[in-house]
Amino acid sequence: MTPLLLASTRATIPDLITFVVCAAVVLTGALGVVMSRNSVHAALSLVLTLFGVAVLFIEQDAQFLAAVQVIVYAGAIVVLFLFVIMFLGVDREENVAAEPLKGQRPLALVLVVIAATGIIFLAATSHWVTGAHAVAGSTTAGGHSNTYLLGRSVFTTYLWAFEITAGLLVIAVVGAVVLARRPSQVHEEPRDARPAAPGAGGPGDAAVASPPVAAAVAAGTGASGSTTDDGERRPVPAGVTGRAEDGMDERVTGS
């Protein structure tokens, strides 16, 4: 049993240095994604992470994967992210200071510390590597290039997995159409205009009553917008817990 970093028989000091540097880059990027106020900066931090992972792939002799990582993820997908961010308005300020739940952040911090401690403790004290060899084998087994080995995996062991990703593409196409569709195009219904729809269930009427989200490019963005709206326009009187007040507000105004 060997420690984590020296699991590979070929591990050398340069390997170790590469790993440490890349790990730092990956983690920096990941932190940047989570902590950036500006969503463009977050997307760009993602490039950093993906690039670090690409270098780690090269370190593992998976050059093809590294190229794919850079071209597809760092290139295409992040550009797509940026495109969407720009499209929806980069200047839109998300009020991250408004905290819908009290104590959420300290609690999250505590949980993160616990989880991180657990992982570091496990990594430091136990031997993580069991010594089992991967079924897929080394990335350069038998003198084959790793594109060959990758292709072989995709068309043998993972053929079914490869094929059923087609299902995901079908969903993507249909889902995009469904979510991008404007409700008004389908049918105009006077009932919609009413302030209080039937149903004292709570969220239902709250949702119907709030002004319709303009130009719902996708239902996802629409919903997120409404959530923030709700959070902002809701006054919180002192002395009543947030949750109870939620109820009051909603009931009294009937929304």
Binding site: T156, I164, P203, G204
Partner: protein, 603 residues
């Protein structure tokens, strides 16, 4: 370097994946056909085709069943797919669920006019994901099945673009679901690192031939897989999404989601834990034990305080998940077959229930308050009888499949020495029976002349219901809700300041609730202008309630019109009730079927 050898691609036995092909291919065909027909015909054509496709996949599944019983289970496509009794049963179950959902959705789509055949297409693709999970023999395939199932459900949850709650539910489901998927993938990676394979059979093989001295990595992976699965089946610490999503989604979709997502996720859950990690059962059984206990208790306990029927059914589905976990906790073939039987019975009960809820919800799919059900028996006796039967079946009443399902999992737990768990399960069933029966009784109680619904019901429960249970769940984030839901104590604490500190507000709230109830009824019968007979706070509230509704009167709820029952929905509800009752009277065939299915389990 040029590859000089020819890759030997695996032989594909198409029977193994035929149900999935029928559903996926059918979905694509339906998409094409629906775009060719006229807009008015789209829903009807979609329904017709979906029913045909689901019937086709049911037929193919039965063919698989004949093959499996005749020649035994087999694996296909380089051991990525396994066809055994277990997977065939899941296929049959999912096919039935799609068929019923198509019938229910027909009326819904015509009523809401929210779109053409996309709902059916997404349902078909999503169902194929559940089938893929049920027959997966590789963790990667499990994951892809999970994603196909879930991503289609995210879109389905947002299907009614006119209801903002629908989009909100979808977003919540999407974010939490993606997070749990990430956890699941991480679990796969760790298990791969520990065992060197993602193939379920090879993992089992590795674990049977090697004793891991340091199994931290494997156990960490196992834990993450457990978390991922628990999220999808809505077991309790990971259930926060369930009420909001079930409530916000279109009702037929909720039924589909409850049935198919649970079936697919539990199928993979059972298979992965029983076949791959069967040897580690001493490690994971206590965890499942704990999960089952909290799931049973929290599901039943919080369902009691709900006023929204969809939320109530959401918590009841959490409670059901706890029962299925009982079968998994038993970690025996018997337990697995009981869990499958439970899922089978549950599918019909829950789709039928949500079909009724969908009808009662009326146009807009929003009338889901308990008070809406008052006096239903007088207005529509047949619908009330059907709903009552489905509710009683969920409660586990005799002569329904629900009883046998609950009995079997409890017996499996007892057989395996988990007597305390069995006792807790029975207790939670008793608690759950309360809210099912309350709804049933409400349907058969006469409609009151005024809107004083709340006060009569359970005065003790009511403040809790208002503070924590029903109101404003969408505004409170999941975490706080979790805190409120995880333990009963915070709920009580929450209630205290509300009652003590804000008494006047509280009183006003209570009245305004009554007004809202009355207003609902008024809007239901399309009264343009209604008059008020309420007190000052009530009318003040009413003014806030509706800008253009000037005055509110208490309408006689007996006047609340009958809800239209489309023929296809009636057929679906009838089928669900028939299955529930017939196999409740004659449980043997279905029980034997589930038992037989797990006997043909390919490890």
């Amino acid at each position: 370097m040029l590859a000089t050898t020819v890759i030997a691609t695996p032989h594909i036995r198409y029977l193994a994946i035929l149900p999935e092909i029928v559903l996926l291919g059918g979905g694509v065909v339906l998409l094409a056909v629906a775009s060719l027909v006229r807009r008015q015909l789209r829903v009807r054509v979609g329904t017709l085709l979906t029913v045909a496709i689901a019937a086709g996949s049911l037929g193919v599944s039965l063919w698989q069943w004949a093959d499996v019983t005749g020649r035994g289970g087999f694996t296909a496509i380089d051991h990525a797919v396994v066809v055994d009794g277990f997977s065939v049963l899941v296929n049959i179950l999912v096919s039935c669920a799609v068929l019923l959902t198509a019938l229910v959705a027909d009326g819904y789509l015509l009523r809401e006019r929210v779109g053409g055949a996309e709902l059916q297409v997404l349902a078909l693709v999503s169902a194929s994901g559940a089938m893929i999970m049920g027959s997966a023999n590789d963790l990667i395939v499990v994951f892809l099945g999970l994603e196909i199932l879930s991503i289609a459900l995210y879109v389905l949850a947002a299907f009614n673009s006119r209801r903002e709650a629908s989009g909100e539910a979808a977003l919540k489901y999407f974010i939490l679901g993606s997070f749990s998927s990430a956890v699941f993938v991480y679990g796969i990676a760790l298990v791969y690192g520990a065992t060197g394979s993602t193939n379920l059979a090879q993992i089992a093989d590795f674990l049977s031939r090697n004793v891991l001295v340091h199994d931290g990595l494997l156990l960490a992976g196992l834990t993450l897989l457990l978390v991922g699965f628990s999220f999808k089946v809505a077991a309790v610490p990971f259930h926060m999404w369930t009420p909001d999503v079930y409530q916000g989604s279109p009702s037929p979709v909720t039924g589909f989601m409850a049935a198919v997502a649970k079936a697919g996720a539990f199928a993979a859950f059972l298979r992965v834990f029983l076949s791959s990690f069967g040897l580690l059962r001493a490690d994971w059984r206590p965890v499942i034990y704990a999960l089952a206990v909290v799931t049973l208790l929290v599901g039943a306990g919080l369902a009691v305080v709900q006023r929204d029927v969809k939320r109530m059914l959401a918590y009841s589905s959490i409670n059901h998940a706890g029962f299925v976990l009982l079968g998994l906790q038993a970690a025996t073939g018997r337990g697995a077959s009981d869990a499958l039987y439970y899922l089978f019975a549950y599918t019909f009960m829950v789709i039928g229930s949500f079909a009724v809820v969908s009808l009662i919800g009326r146009t807009g799919d929003v009338a889901h308050d308990l008070s809406t059900y008052r006096g239903l028996a007088r207005r529509q006796p047949l619908l009330a009888v059907c709903f009552a039967v489905l509710l009683l079946a969920q409660a586990g009443a005799p002569f329904t499949t629900g009883l046998w399902a609950k009995l079997q999992v409890v017996l499996a737990a007892v057989d395996n020495g988990s007597v305390p768990l069995a006792v807790i399960a029975m207790a939670s069933a008793a608690l759950a029976a309360f809210f099912y029966l309350r709804l049933a009784v409400l349907m058969y109680s006469p409609a009151p002349a005024s809107g004083g619904v709340l006060g009569e019901e359970e005065p003790g429960e009511q403040p809790v219901a208002l503070t924590a249970g029903t109101v404003g769940p969408f505004r409170a984030g999941p975490a706080e809700q979790a805190m409120a839901e995880a333990q009963p104590q915070p709920v009580e604490e929450l209630r205290a300041p509300a009652v003590r500190g804000a008494r006047p507000v509280w009183a006003g709230t209570e009245q305004s609730v009554a007004v809202v109830d009355r207003l609902n009824a008024a809007l239901l019968i399309d009264a343009e202008t209604v008059t008020v007979d309420g007190e000052t706070p009530a009318s003040a509230a009413a003014d806030q309630v509706g800008g253009d509704v000037e005055r509110v009167e208490a309408p006689d709820p007996a006047l609340v019109s009958k809800v239209p029952v489309p023929a296809l929905s009636a057929v679906a509800i009838g089928l669900c009730v028939a299955v529930t009752v017939v196999f409740g009277f004659i449980p043997a065939p279905l029980v034997d079927f589930a038992h037989h299915a797990t006997l043909l389990f390919v490890p």
